[in-house]
Amino acid sequence: MTSMTTIPTSSSAPLTNALRSRRLPVWALVAIGVAAAVLAVLLFKVAGLMDGGWVLTLVGAVLIFLIGLSVISSVVEGRRAARNRVATSLIYSAFVLALVPLVSVVITLLNKGRTRLDGTFFNNSMRNITAFDSGGGAYHAIVGTLEQAGIATLITVPLGVAGAIYIVEYGRGRLANTIRFFVDVMTGIPSIVAGLFILAFWVLIVSPHLSSTHQPFNSGFAAALALFVLMLPTVTRSTEEMLRLVPASLREGSFALGIAKWKTIMRIVIPTALPGIVTGIMLAVARAAGETAPVLLVAGGTPNRNFNPFEGNQESLSVYIYDQAAAATKYGPPRAWTAALTLVALVLLLTVVAKLLSRRTKLNQK
C-alpha cells in the first residue's frame, strides 16, 4: 500500500495507463472489508450457518475479504497484483493471529493471578497446609528458584565464557569445529533429558556416596546441575557471538604493544564485549528459572522451607505451580496462578533488562 501511495500520479491519464496498470484505490479496499464483515455477520451470525459464533464470523469475514479482494483485484489490476495483495493480507493476518495467544495469556495471568497476590503468599510456605486449606504461600519456592538459578549461573558463567573464548580465540582445526557444532546441537537438548541425566548421574550414582546413610537423595544442587547443562550451550553460544563482533584491530593493537594473548583477551576483548555477554547470560538465566521438568525430577519439591541447596528436597516456583495445579480444589489453582504470575514477572524482568542492556553495547550487530 505504501508503494502505491508514494508513486506520484501523473496528470496525463493515458500515458500513466500505458506505463503501469490500474490500481485499486484505498476506498475500494475499505469497501471490500466492510462488505466482507457485513456478509459474514449475515451468513454466520444471522442465518446461523454452521452454528456460527463470533470466532467463526471473524474467520469467515477474513476469508470472504481475501476471496473478494482476489476476485476484484484480479479483474481490475490483473492476476499478479491480486496474488500480491492476498499474500500481503495473509502475512499481516499471521501477525495478528500470533498476538492473540500472547494477549490471552497475559490477560488470564493477570485475572487469575490477582486473587492470591497478598502478603501471605510471599511470606509463607505450604507447611501443614493441604489442598483443602486456604492460605499458604510460595516463599519457599521463590527462595528455591533463586538458589537453584543462582548456583547454576555461578557454575555456568566461567565455563561458558571460557568455552566461548576457546572457540573464538584459541580453537583451531577439527576439535574447535566439533565443539562449535555440538554447542549448537546441545542448545536443543530437551530439559527433561537434562533432568534424567542428572538423576542417573548425580542423584542415583554420586549422591549415595555423599550421605551418611548411603541412600540417594534429592537436592537443590542437583537441580542447579541440570540447569547448568541447559544453560551452558546457550551462554557459550551468545558469548561466542559477542566475541566475534569485537574488531580484530583492537586485538592487533594490543598484540603490537607486546601484551600477552590471555591478557589481551581478559583486558581488551572481554570488557569490550561485556554488555552483550551479560545480556546472553541473563537470557539464559531467565530461561533456566522457568524450567520445571528437571527440577521436578532431581529436587523433588517439598511443602517445607529448605534453604540448604545441598541436602534434601527443595521447591521451585515452577514445581510449585505444577503441584498446586494438580490439586483439584478451590484453593490449589489460584495459588498456582499467582505463582505463575510471580514467575512470569521474574522472567520478564530479567529478559527486558537484558534486552535494554544489549542496546548499550558499542559493537554494531550486523
Binding site: 555440538f182 546441537v185 546441545m186 534424567l196 551452558l232 580484530a248 521436578l296 529478559t351
Partner: protein, 366 residues
C-alpha cells in the same frame, strides 16, 4: 611524529603504508568471498608472527598456557556432557529393559511398576510425541513464516523491532505457564472447536471421534504450536534478513511484485535456513515436557484422531509417571528418555548440519 633525520626509514614506512592497505583489501576480499564456501569456524584474528629473536622464550607453565588449557577444557566440557548423557542414561536404562516382560520397542502400554510382571513399551509414546509435534508444526510454521516475512520485509523498521520484541517475550514465558493456560483456559474453546470440527468435518479421520473432547492432542498441539512459534519466527527472520539486497532489487527491477520478489529472491535463497529453523522448532516440540503433561489426557491409544480426550508423549509420560515410579519404573522412564534424547539429537544434528553447510545463515538467534 615525522623523523627527518632518518629519511631512509621514513621512505620505507611510507612504502609499507602504501603497500599494506592494498594487501589488506585483497585479504579482506578473499575472506569475504571464501567464507560461505569453506569452514570458517573458530578463526579469530591471526596472531602476528613475530621474529622472536628478542622475545622471552615460551614458558611451559606460564599464565598463557594455564589460561589456554583452562579454556580448552571448558570448551571440551560440552562434548563430555553429551557423551556422559548417553552413557549414564544407558547404564540406568539397561537393567529396566532387561526386566521388561514385553518388547520395549513395540509394546503399546506402560506398566513398569508391577513388581512381578513389568510390561512397558515405547511405541504409543513415541507415536504421540511425533504426532503432536507434527501437528504443532503444521499449525505453527505457516504463521511463523508469515510473521518473519512481516518483520523482515513488510513492517516499518521501527515497528518491526518493537513487534519482534513482543515475539521474543512470547519465547521467554516458561512452558509451565503455557501449560497452565492451556489446561485452565484454552481447554473450553478447544472443546467447542472439537465438537464443531466433528460436526462439519467428521468425515476427515483427524476429527472422527464423537467425544469426550477437551484434553486432547489438538489442545496439546495448539499449546505446542504457540511455544515453537517464537523460535521458528526468530530464526527464519534472521534467514530472510540475510537475503542480498541485490537479488531483491534485481527482482523488483524486472517488474516483479513484492510477493513475486519474495518468492523468487528471498525464499529460494533462504530455503536451507528455513528448513533448519523448522527442524529446530521440531526439536523443541519433541522435547517439550511440562506443557504437554498438563494438557494431554494420557492413555496409550494410537490413532489418527486428534480431538478425543487422550494423547501422550515421552516427555509428558516421564513428568507424570515419575512420582509413583519404583526402581524398575524409574529405569523404564530413563530408557524412554534415552529414546527421546536420540530422536532430538538426530533432528538437531541434521538441522545444524544444514545450517553449517550454508554458514551465512548462522544468526544471533538461538
Amino acid at each position: 611524529m615525522s623523523q627527518p633525520s632518518f629519511p631512509g626509514s621514513a621512505e620505507a614506512a611510507s612504502a609499507a603504508s602504501a603497500d599494506s592497505p592494498n594487501d589488506l583489501t585483497v585479504q579482506d576480499d578473499t575472506r569475504a568471498v571464501d567464507i560461505p564456501r569453506h569452514r570458517s569456524g573458530g578463526r579469530g584474528p591471526v596472531a602476528p608472527m613475530g621474529g622472536g629473536g628478542a622475545l622471552p622464550p615460551k614458558r611451559r607453565f606460564g599464565a598463557e598456557s594455564v589460561f589456554r588449557w583452562f579454556t580448552t577444557g571448558a570448551g571440551t566440557i560440552v562434548l563430555v556432557i553429551i557423551v556422559a548423557i548417553a552413557i549414564f542414561l544407558i547404564v540406568k536404562a539397561v537393567p529396566a529393559i532387561k526386566a521388561d516382560k514385553a518388547n520395549f520397542l513395540t509394546h503399546f502400554e506402560w506398566f513398569p511398576n508391577d513388581p512381578t510382571d513389568p510390561k512397558f513399551g515405547i511405541a504409543s509414546l513415541a507415536f504421540g510425541t511425533v504426532f503432536s509435534s507434527a501437528i504443532a508444526l503444521v499449525l505453527a510454521v505457516p504463521v511463523a513464516l508469515g510473521i518473519a516475512l512481516c518483520l523482515s520485509h513488510y513492517a516499518h523498521k521501527r515497528l518491526a523491532n518493537g513487534l519482534g520484541f513482543l515475539i521474543d517475550l512470547l519465547a521467554a514465558v516458561p512452558s509451565i505457564v503455557f501449560g497452565l493456560w492451556g489446561r485452565d483456559y484454552l481447554v473450553d474453546p478447544v472443546r467447542q472447536l472439537s465438537g464443531w470440527l466433528h460436526k462439519y468435518f467428521g468425515w476427515i479421520p483427524l476429527f472422527g471421534s464423537d467425544g469426550p473432547y477437551g484434553k486432547s492432542i489438538l489442545l496439546g498441539s495448539l499449546v505446542l504450536a504457540i511455544m515453537v512459534l517464537p523460535i521458528v519466527t526468530s530464526l527464519s527472520r534472521e534467514v530472510f534478513r540475510q537475503t542480498p539486497g541485490m537479488n531483491e532489487e534485481a527482482a523488483l527491477a524486472l517488474g516483479a511484485t513484492k510477493w513475486e520478489m519474495i518468492r523468487m529472491a528471498v525464499i529460494p535463497y533462504g530455503r536451507p535456513g528455513l528448513i533448519a529453523s523448522v527442524m529446530l522448532g521440531l526439536g523443541r516440540a519433541l522435547g517439550e515436557t511440562i506443557a504437554l503433561a498438563l494438557t494431554l489426557g494420557g492413555g496409550w491409544a494410537v490413532g489418527s484422531d486428534i480431538i478425543h480426550d487422550g494423547g501422550n508423549s515421552i516427555a509428558a509420560n516421564i513428568a507424570n509417571g515419575f512420582g509413583e515410579a519404583n526402581d524398575i519404573g524409574r529405569g523404564a522412564l530413563i530408557a524412554s528418555g534415552l529414546v527421546l534424547f536420540a530422536i532430538t539429537l538426530i533432528v538437531n544434528m541434521i538441522a545444524r548440519a544444514i545450517v553449517y553447510r550454508r554458514r551465512e545463515f548462522i544468526g544471533s538467534a538461538v
